[in-house]
Structures are given as structure tokens and as C-alpha cells.
């Protein structure tokens, strides 16, 4: 048990994040207020995206934009110390 805790602590230090008070106790970028994942909103956020591509397509899958860090990530991303519950 101690060994397991130590291992967990080690990994936790490498991947800092905190959890919201959501009932599941689990955070995802999809639930963060900084995450833009809805296709129409994503196309508005990235001018030119719809010229020869589309946010409504399968290829995008669940990729979205983290406005806090200005990076692309998936809706299921979870390791973020700046998570803020978006109520979603």
C-alpha cells in the first residue's frame, strides 16, 4: 500500500492537476470554462478554419481550443492545474 502511495505521489508530482467539486470528482477539459469544443463556436474562434475544413467533421473528433493556454487539446484532457468548472 505504501509502495502504491509512493508511486502515486511520484506520478502526481509529474502531472499536477486539481479536481473540481463535480459529483463525479473527475475533471475534463470539456467541462472547463476555458475550453471551446462546440463546432460552431470553434469555427468562430478560428477564422479561416471553415475555408477548406470544418469543425463539424469526424477528423476533428473532440479536439478543441483551450483559451487559457492558447493550445489545442482533446475534450478528455484532464491534467491541468488551471481547470475552472464551466458548469458543463
Amino acid at each position: 500500500m505504501l509502495k502504491q502511495q509512493a508511486k502515486a505521489k511520484s506520478q502526481f508530482n509529474l502531472i499536477p492537476f486539481r479536481f473540481s467539486a463535480a459529483a463525479s470528482g473527475v475533471t475534463r477539459c470539456a467541462a472547463c470554462r476555458f475550453f471551446t469544443g462546440a463546432p460552431a463556436a470553434l469555427e468562430r474562434a478560428i477564422p479561416g478554419l471553415n475555408i477548406l475544413s470544418s469543425a463539424f467533421g469526424s477528423v476533428r473528433a473532440d479536439t478543441g481550443l483551450c483559451e487559457r493556454h492558447g493550445v489545442f487539446t482533446t475534450a478528455r484532457g484532464a491534467f491541468c492545474p488551471q481547470f475552472e468548472d464551466g458548469g458543463g
Partner: protein, 464 residues
């Protein structure tokens, strides 16, 4: 103990969301499949019921009119006004309802689609002029150029983009294309297309990546994003990779500018260069399929060349084999590969993100499934007819209307490319990224020519 609980929760969070059924009505790829297959089944059922006039009426277009005077054109529209009204309502309901389900505002879609439909009708009418070919007034080129002029000279409101859905229209058209694509051709030509696409995809991506990182010192995520964009299918591929490598917003802006800029140049250049070189339509289609970045742009170029040389079918078929069946399948693979590289090489486990082979399916362009399904179903249906019956009954009553409906979706797409390309919205890119991508383009075009014309030339020339 808290940490152990937290770690379990982290693992839970890292699991993919339940995707399943919602994708079937929230992604345009699936809607393209449903619409394309429904239209095909509709045409077959009407044929069997002896009511093919209905689908033929809905598929009306003035592209083959060959009018000589505006009076003649006006008379034509006056006589067929009712049919065009029905057709407009038909498209409006199909695309309006489905985009509304996906989350597009109907109050924005309807007025913008009226504009798009009327514009497309004008493009068809221009291409239907008896002297259009003499002035290279091919419908895709006219639609693209007039769309660009409208979008950049007049400021159309951004909400009109709700109906200018480039990708949705081209995907629906590709599924309809499958209905006129013998499955035997897919099976015999597919392996050659996949071999050629594999060579191109690997070489172009690696050239851009290593030129970018080693020669110009670009950030690795940026090099990956533009590398896959150039090698596979433009901005869509860049978008797929962006999440794998945690690309910045600016990286995608760079990819959009480079891909759109070069894709437009290729639409205008490749057909004319192919004609100057006297390439057979099938060979040029394969070359365009190897060298263009986006499906929509490539179809514009291949259709233009096919119309130039009077063999649109061959150019579109070889382009489809090369681009849609060959290159597009690489999207998910590159996504997983770069997720692995980003996790285990660049960040050495710090990101907590692990590559997941299931991405290959999640990011698979699902409309390709519809293309194959349409091809198989139509091949099964037509196998019951002998050649004379096929040519006198099935071709004019089923195949020809489906080809016309496909042509409509393509025109919607080509005009939408022009209408959405507002140069003022594109971000300026650094010269290092520009030269990196441009070197990749040069390699892509030259290698594509060698493979399409020299290595597999005889093969592609045999596509009819």
C-alpha cells in the same frame, strides 16, 4: 490515500468520452453518408416504380444548355421556373434540417443558402454558355473566382458562413460519387492508390518536418502540424494533429494560411500545366490527387481539368482513388504517431497524454464509409442488368440524375470555397514556416508527377 484516489480519478478522466451514437447525427461526415445513400436509394426506388421523372426533375441543371443568347437563357428559366423552385426547396430542406441538427442556426442558414443557391445557378448558367469552353469558363473555376471576388470586395456578414459549408457539400458529393463508381474499379485500383499515397504521405510529411525543425529551427509542434497538413489533407489533418502535439492557436493559423494559399494556387495552376503537358485525364487526376492538400480544392482542380479535356469522369475517378481512398486514410495514423512522439520523445512522459490506437477510427473520415457503401450497393443493383438495358434504362434514369445531384453539391462546395476565403482573415505567416511548407509543396508536386506520370502512368491512363 488522497493521491491514490486522485490518480484513479485521473485515469478515469483520461478515458475517452462515450462517443458512439451521438456522432451519427452530430458529425457532418455521417450526415453526408445518410444523405448520399438516401438519395441513391430514392433514385433506385423511383426507377423501380417507373417514376424516374421525379428525380430527373429534381436533378435539373442548366450546365448542358449551350445557350447562345441571353434571351434563350431567359426563356429556359421561364419554362423551368417551377422545377427550380422545387429543387431549391429540396436542397434547402435536406441541408437546412441536417445542419440545424448539427447546431447551425436555421435563421442564418436559410437566407445564406438562398444566396448560395442563386449563385450556383448563375455559375451553371455561365458554364452552359455555348462558348464557355473557349474562355476556360469551367464551372469550378468560375465559382471559385467569382466567390473570391464577392468575399473580398464586398463584406458579406460572417453569419452567412452558416450555409457556406464547403466540407459538408463535398462529402455529400463524394458519397454520391460512390454511386457511380464501380466497386471493381475501387478494388483493382485501390492498392496502387494506397501505395502511391503512402509514399507521398511519408515523404512529404518527413520533408516538411525535418526541413522545418533542422533547417529553419521551427517549433516541433508547428512543423508537425504543417507537415501533416501538407502530406494528408490540409487543415483537417492539421486540426487532427494539433491536439496530439498540443499545438498552439498560432500553429493552426499558420497551417490555415499556408494550406489555403497553396491550395488556391494549385487549383488554378495544375489543370493548365496538365493541359500544357498533354496529360491524359486519368493521369492528371492522380497527379492532382497526389499534389493537392484538401479534398474540396482537389475536386475543383480535377473537375476543371476533366472539363477542359472532355473527360471529367476519368479525372474525378483517379483523383478520388488517389486522394480520398489513398491519402485521407492517413489522418488517424499520423495522429497516433505524433501523439506517441510528443509523449515519449518531446515531453518524456510529462504531459500525461498517451497515444491511443483508437484515434485511427475516431478521426477516420467517415464519409469514405459512405463512398464504399454507395459503390457496393449500386454495383449490386446494376449487376442485374445487361449492357443494353443498363445504357437505355438505368443510366439515363438513375445514374445521370445522381451525377447531376452530385454536380450540384460540388458547385455549392466550389462557390463556398470562394465565399469563405476572406484574405483579410488569414494570418500572416513567418518566412521560415512559409519556406518550409513551400519546399514540401515542391517535393509533393515533383514526386507526385514522377509517380503519377512515370511510375504508374500507364495504370492511371487506363482509368476511364
Amino acid at each position: 490515500m488522497t493521491n491514490v484516489g486522485s490518480l484513479d480519478a485521473a485515469r478515469e478522466a483520461a478515458k475517452p468520452e462515450r462517443r458512439g451514437w451521438k456522432e451519427l447525427y452530430l458529425k457532418e461526415d455521417w450526415w453526408a453518408v445518410w444523405l448520399g445513400l438516401a438519395l441513391m436509394v430514392f433514385a433506385i426506388l423511383l426507377f423501380q416504380a417507373g417514376c424516374s421523372n421525379i428525380v430527373k426533375a429534381l436533378a435539373i441543371n442548366p450546365g448542358g444548355l449551350k445557350w447562345n443568347s441571353l434571351g434563350q437563357l431567359a426563356d429556359y428559366f421561364a419554362q423551368n421556373a417551377q422545377l427550380y423552385l422545387y429543387q431549391f426547396l429540396f436542397w434547402l430542406v435536406l441541408f437546412g434540417a441536417t445542419t440545424a441538427i448539427m447546431g447551425v442556426k436555421l435563421k442564418e442558414f436559410v437566407p445564406a443558402f438562398i444566396f448560395l443557391y442563386v449563385g450556383s445557378l448563375i455559375m451553371f448558367a455561365i458554364a452552359g454558355w455555348a462558348n464557355a469552353a473557349q474562355f476556360n469558363l469551367e464551372a469550378p473555376l468560375v465559382a471559385l473566382i467569382l466567390g473570391l471576388i464577392i468575399a473580398n470586395v464586398f463584406r458579406l456578414p460572417a453569419w452567412m458562413d452558416s450555409a457556406f459549408r464547403v466540407e459538408y457539400y463535398i462529402k455529400t458529393g463524394i458519397v454520391l460519387l460512390g454511386a457511380t463508381f464501380p466497386i471493381t474499379l475501387v478494388l483493382t485500383a485501390g492498392p496502387v492508390a494506397i501505395v502511391q499515397a503512402t509514399i507521398i504521405s511519408l515523404v512529404t510529411c518527413l520533408v516538411i518536418y525535418f526541413v522545418g525543425t533542422r533547417l529553419f529551427g521551427l517549433e516541433k509542434p508547428l512543423a508537425a502540424v504543417i507537415g501533416v497538413g501538407g502530406a494528408v489533407c490540409g487543415v483537417s489533418a492539421s486540426m487532427a494533429i494539433a491536439a496530439s502535439v498540443n499545438a498552439k492557436k498560432d500553429h493552426l493559423y499558420t497551417s490555415i494560411t499556408l494550406v489555403v494559399g497553396w491550395a488556391l494556387i494549385m487549383i488554378l495552376v495544375l489543370p493548365f500545366v496538365s493541359r500544357a503537358l498533354g496529360l491524359p485525364a486519368g493521369v492528371a487526376g492522380a497527379w492532382i490527387g497526389t499534389s493537392e492538400f484538401a479534398d474540396a480544392a482537389g475536386f475543383a482542380a480535377a473537375t476543371t481539368y476533366g472539363k477542359m479535356v472532355g473527360n471529367e469522369d476519368a479525372a474525378i475517378k483517379s483523383f478520388t482513388l488517389m486522394k480520398v481512398i489513398g491519402r485521407d486514410l492517413w489522418i488517424g495514423v499520423w495522429s497516433v504517431v505524433f501523439a506517441g512522439i510528443a509523449t515519449f520523445v518531446w515531453e518524456k512522459g510529462q504531459s500525461g497524454r498517451v497515444p491511443d490506437a483508437r484515434e485511427i477510427w475516431w478521426r477516420f473520415p467517415k464519409f469514405v464509409v459512405g463512398f464504399f457503401a454507395a459503390s457496393i450497393l449500386m454495383s449490386a443493383f446494376t449487376s442485374g442488368f445487361n449492357a443494353p438495358d443498363f445504357n437505355t434504362a438505368v443510366r439515363p434514369n438513375v445514374i445521370a440524375p445522381l451525377v447531376s445531384l452530385r454536380t450540384w453539391t460540388f458547385i455549392f462546395c466550389f462557390l463556398s470555397i470562394g465565399l469563405t476565403t476572406r484574405f483579410r482573415d488569414l494570418h500572416i505567416v513567418g518566412w521560415k514556416a512559409f519556406w518550409t511548407f513551400s519546399i514540401g509543396v515542391a517535393v509533393n508536386v515533383v514526386l507526385g508527377y514522377v509517380l503519377s506520370v512515370i511510375v504508374f502512368g500507364d495504370y492511371w491512363a487506363g482509368i476511364h
